[in-house]
Symmetry: none
DNA sequence: TTTGCTTATGAATAAATATGCAATAAGGTG
DNA sequence: CACCTTATTGCATATTTATTCATAAGCAAA
C-alpha cells in the first residue's frame, strides 16, 4: 500500500464515515487492510488539509468545504449559474464552493480557446487565448456545460 | 470581561494575526488585558468553530472558509492592505487568510462595476464589467472599504 | 549488482488540546 | 435580601496530535 493509495482510501473513509479522531481513522484503515501508524496519519491529515472541528456537538475529521470532488460531464451544467465577459476576460459564476471543480473540468477539455483558468469559491475566471475569441469561447462554454 | 466580549476579541486577534496554537492566542489575549485559561480557550474555539490546519507549512488557528466570519462594514478596512490595478484587472491585498471574507463582502455589495471576484489567501482579484470602469471601481473600493 | 541520495515510516515522546470536577459567577424569582 | 438554577471558569489531568530520531524503502546511476 503506497502513500497515494492510502490517501485516496482516507478520502473515501472520511466521505463515508463520521470519524472523531485519528485513532478512529487508524482503526477504519486497519479494517480496510491498511496498517499504518498514527504518526503517518497525522502527516497525511496535514498534507490533505484535513481539519478537526466540533460540529453538532462532536469533534469530527473532515475535509474543508472548499476541497471539492471531481465533476462528471452530465452534472457540470447544474453547477454553472451564469457566464459573462468584459473586453478581456470571461467569468463563470457557479454554485457556492463549486468553482474549483468547474475550473478543473474546463481544464481537462483542453480547448485551444482557453489560455488558462483561475477558480475561487463561486467564480471561475477564464483567460482567452485571444480577446477576439471571447464570443466563440462563450459559445463553447454554453455548448460544453449544457445539462445533457 | 464577559464571554461574548472575549470571543469578539478572539475573532479580532485571529483576523489580525497569524496564530499557531492556543497558547499563542492566550498570550495575545493577555497582551490585550484578557486573562483566561487554556481550557476556556479550547471551549471558545470549539464554540466558534475555529480550526487548526496546516497551510503554507505552518499550523494556524483560523475560522473555516465556509465560516469566514461576516465582515461588519466598519471593520473591513482593517483587513485591506492595498488596492492596485493594471489595464484590465484590479487586485486587493488583504491580511493573511482574509481574502475570502473581503471578496464575499464585495460580492454582497452587488456593484454593477464588478463582473466577478476571485479570492486566494491574501489576494482578491476583481474583474471589472468593463476595463473603462477601473478608475471608478478603485474609487468605489476605497469608499466602501474605508476604516470608518 | 552496489552505491548514494531522497522520501517515507514508525516508535517514542513532546506538544497541544479537550475534559472531569469543583468552585464560583451570573441570572432569575419571590 | 435569600434562594435556586444555570452558566462559566480554572486546575489538574486525560486525550489527541505533532515532531524527533532512527531506519526502511524507493529510485536512479554506475
Amino acid at each position: 500500500m503506497n502513500k497515494h493509495a492510502r490517501q485516496l482510501k482516507i478520502r473515501e473513509i472520511l466521505q463515508l464515515n463520521s470519524v472523531g479522531n485519528q485513532h478512529e481513522l487508524l482503526q477504519l484503515l486497519r479494517d480496510s487492510a491498511v496498517k499504518v501508524a498514527q504518526a503517518t496519519l497525522s502527516r497525511d491529515c496535514a498534507e490533505l488539509g484535513i481539519i478537526r472541528s466540533k460540529t453538532d456537538g462532536n469533534y469530527r475529521l473532515r475535509f474543508p468545504d472548499d476541497n471539492a470532488g471531481r465533476i462528471i460531464k452530465g452534472l457540470v451544467g447544474i453547477e454553472v449559474l451564469a457566464v459573462h465577459s468584459n473586453e478581456t476576460t470571461v467569468v463563470i459564476k457557479t454554485l457556492p464552493g463549486r468553482a474549483h471543480g468547474v475550473g478543473s473540468y474546463l481544464d481537462q477539455l483542453r480547448s485551444p480557446l482557453i489560455l488558462g483558468t483561475i477558480a475561487g469559491d463561486d467564480t471561475v475566471l477564464l483567460i482567452p487565448t485571444s480577446v477576439e475569441n471571447i464570443p466563440a469561447l462563450i459559445s463553447y462554454i454554453h455548448k460544453n456545460l449544457s445539462k445533457n
